[in-house]
């Protein structure tokens, strides 16, 4: 029983934190499980959950057998942000609106904090593309840093962006 609980905790822990693995050629390779691709990657539908990785000089998004690779050097902008989403979403979330006595509205109060990561990149023919990802809370900065270390470019450094987000909180205190 104790062993099962330990295994379960280890599993949950691995989902919450990014997986770190050292790559001999390109420095740190980092992957983020349970990342939602909102839109923008060629060959994938909207709102697909998979694994986002920064490895071998590329951004790699894997969903089952499908794998989309974007060379990091083609990424021209990597903005990040914070948001919230409904804890119970999807079809169940929509149908919960019809629950009696305002049950659906009560459920909508439960929200999960998320991080957003967007990339603007250029394809081989020079056309601009955009893609948006939703990551677990606290992972966007690490993902941005990993992409920058792989060769991506940005106009706002990760540290400055993080500092800009924390500023309004300091004012409130």
């Amino acid at each position: 029983m104790q062993l099962a609980a330990t295994v379960l905790l280890m599993g949950v822990g691995s989902l919450a934190k990014p997986c770190l693995a050292q790559d001999a050629n390109t420095g740190n390779a980092i992957s983020f499980a349970n990342t939602k691709e909102v839109l923008g990657l060629d060959g994938l539908k909207h709102n697909v959950t998979g694994t986002l990785a920064a490895e071998n000089g590329s951004l790699v998004f894997t969903k089952g057998k499908k794998k989309v690779v974007v060379p990091a050097t083609s990424i021209t902008e990597v903005p990040t942000g914070k948001d919230t989403e409904r804890a119970i979403g999807g079809t169940v979330g929509v149908f919960s609106m019809f629950a009696p006595y305002g049950g659906g509205r009560f459920l909508s109060l439960f929200r999960t904090k998320i991080d957003t990561l967007a990339i603007e990149y250029v394809d081989t023919s020079g056309g601009i593309h955009g893609a948006i990802f939703i990551l677990r809370k606290g992972n966007a900065d690490a993902a941005k840093k990993a992409l920058l270390s792989q060769g991506a470019r940005t106009s706002v450094p990760a540290e400055l962006e993080a500092a800009a987000r924390t500023k309004p909180k300091e004012k409130q205190q």
Binding site: V38, L39, G40, E77, P79, G81, T84, E85, R86, V94, M97, G104, R105, S108, L109, R111, T116, A118, E120, V122, D123, S125, G126, G127, I128, H129, G130, A131, I132
Partner: protein, 168 residues
Amino acid sequence: MKCAHYRSPLLLLILVFFFMGSVTSAQDNTNPKIHASSIQILMGQSDEVKLPIEFQLALYENLIEQIQKTNKFQHLYRDGDPAASSNTDLVILHSNVYGFKKGSEGKRQLTTVAGATQIKVHCLLTDKAGKFEVAQDVTGNVRFVGGNLRVTFDFAKKVAKIIVTNFQ
């Protein structure tokens, strides 16, 4: 007896609506449809309002997807694609965001009437020389179901509708 008393004005009203409909459809038919084999979609500009970059990217990507679905053009070029300049039969879609109100998904679900997200965009379709073909203001909304980014999907659907009505 009473029923017959109301029948004639009702009939008149139906006839009025019928003729109004035929007049408007006749007006629609008079507008000549534009022909172009290719379109280039430029990234949306937001000089007047501060639009978060994720909305800008979603706007651009949804536009490309929805216009592609219309099947009105043989080639669709993205912003920055140099191949577009060599194409002679090309229209260019410019979009300038002049209004943006970021609502709250939580408020929308809780109150139904508050927290709407809205985006107002001035869309311009020009030929290569810059001559206006179509100019229209389009508003995208999310009033009830969906996240804030869905506003860009609503906007793109409306632009696709404009393209369907104006192009051969």
